[in-house]
């Protein structure tokens, strides 16, 4: 690896950002537990949340190791303030109805699946290759599952089609942020650690177009992409998530299971 000194802090930031995406989406999806429209889907959503939380744990643990400043994976996950979280806005969007949640899952999985595929095959970082090798295959399940649902809803009843179209209108303008590399991400891409996220756009777009075509959905034009999460600028909902997520650690500092 070249430029080790620079990459060290950039690597930490980039891994942390990935971990934040997975933690926040994992938490969001976990909110469905016990509330899904049917039992199989309750298990499916809980399993997807578990995958995401598992991936976030591996990423936070690695970030803590890179930082080497005495912070643990729990410290990173639970003891930062809102502006320090760099997750994209898409993952913090409220669950809404089932169509919103499953479409959000499709958008994210269609991005992370090729992302991890690239890392597993090409990254110069052995730990990330290991995390990616597993995550890629897990995200393939999320992708297939959510894609099948989006088709089922879009090509289903008038009501289901209306709901999923509303979800597309509400969420599509958050997807552009997936392809905005932070300076840390860009530095990692230049060093062959992570892919240049912009190069993943064609793959993402063709996956979504394929699913939308099957589901009788139109690909919307986005006039005003919503961004800011990568710089710590979040929507109001983020504070509510952190309130719930951090409650135990804030109330009982250093609590251990």
């Amino acid at each position: 690896m070249t430029g080790v000194a620079i990459v060290h802090s950039h690597l930490f930031e980039a891994v942390l950002q990935l971990a934040d995406d997975h933690l926040i989406l994992g938490h969001r999806v976990s909110e469905w537990c016990g509330h899904a429209p049917m039992l199989e889907e309750d298990l499916g959503l809980a399993n997807m949340a578990l995958d995401l939380l598992g991936q976030s744990r591996a990423l936070y643990a690695y970030a803590a190791e890179i930082e080497d400043a005495g912070r643990s994976e729990d410290d990173l996950a639970f003891l930062r303030v809102e502006r320090q979280y760099q997750n994209c806005l898409l993952v913090e969007r409220p669950n809404g109805d089932f169509a919103h949640s499953i479409l959000r899952q499709l958008y994210f999985a269609a991005f992370m699946h090729p992302f991890w595929h690239h890392v597993a095959a090409n990254s110069s970082d052995e730990t990330l290759r290991g995390i990616a090798g597993k995550a890629e295959k897990e995200m393939a399940y999320h992708l297939r599952h959510s894609a099948e649902w989006v088709v089922r809803l879009g090509d289903g009843t008038d009501e289901s089609a209306k709901r999923v179209k509303e979800a597309v209108d509400a969420l599509h303008h958050y997807t552009d942020e997936l392809f905005q590399g932070s300076s840390a991400m860009t530095a990692c891409a230049e060093n062959g650690v992570l892919p240049d996220v912009e190069t993943l756009r064609p793959s993402w777009t063709s996956t979504i177009a394929d699913v939308f075509a099957h589901g009788q959905l139109a690909m919307p034009e986005v006039a005003h992409p919503q961004t800011g999460g990568r710089m710590g600028e979040h929507g109001e909902e983020m504070g509510h998530i952190l309130h719930e997520l951090q409650y135990m650690q804030r109330t009982y500092p250093n609590l251990q299971w």
Partner: protein
């Protein structure tokens, strides 16, 4: 089964025998060695070091597995340490043929080797019923009772069954 990478010391062999017999906590019909989770055991200065690769990222059994292996090594008279190996990532292809057969006998369809689950939008994998062997099966849900299983039902014998997800 024997340790994959030949390890010459008798102590290492004894440590491997102890660790490899540990059953998986969620699917006790197979051992951690048969699942391919236990990669190797070496003995250094009297300390048995077991190298363990976790299965699914979110598998809650990882810690239980590590503790069970540590306990088995302690019981066998070793000081023990667990090393978690993240790379290369565990894959269902590492489940041994005996492990697959035990899964089937237990009522869980073993993973289809080299299946299409890596990608395949809208693709289907053919999974044989572990009870009657029929390939006329139907996926009920991509996600089953644990992180590692999907839920199927057999159209011929009408039994529901778990399928060990292929990763």
């Amino acid at each position: 089964m024997t340790q994959p990478a030949a390890n010459h010391s008798l102590a290492a062999e004894r440590a491997w025998d102890a660790a490899s017999a540990v059953p998986d906590p969620e699917i006790p019909c197979v051992t951690v060695a048969e699942l391919g989770i236990l990669r190797k055991v070496v003995v250094e200065n009297g300390v048995a070091v077991a190298y363990v690769t976790p299965t699914y990222s979110g598998c809650p059994a990882v810690l239980a597995i590590e503790l069970a292996i540590e306990a088995a090594l302690l019981d066998a008279g070793f000081e023990a340490r667990i090393e978690r190996v993240m790379s290369p990532a565990w894959t269902t292809d590492w489940i041994t043929p005996e492990g697959c057969e035990k899964l089937r006998a237990y009522g869980i369809a073993p993973p289809v080797k080299g299946s299409n689950s890596k990608m395949a939008l809208f693709g289907e994998t053919v999974v044989n019923c572990p009870r009657c062997g029929s390939s006329d099966t139907q996926k009920i849900s991509e996600f089953g009772s644990t992180a590692c299983k999907a839920h199927y039902t057999c159209r011929r014998c009408a039994e529901p069954f778990d399928y060990f997800k292929c990763i």
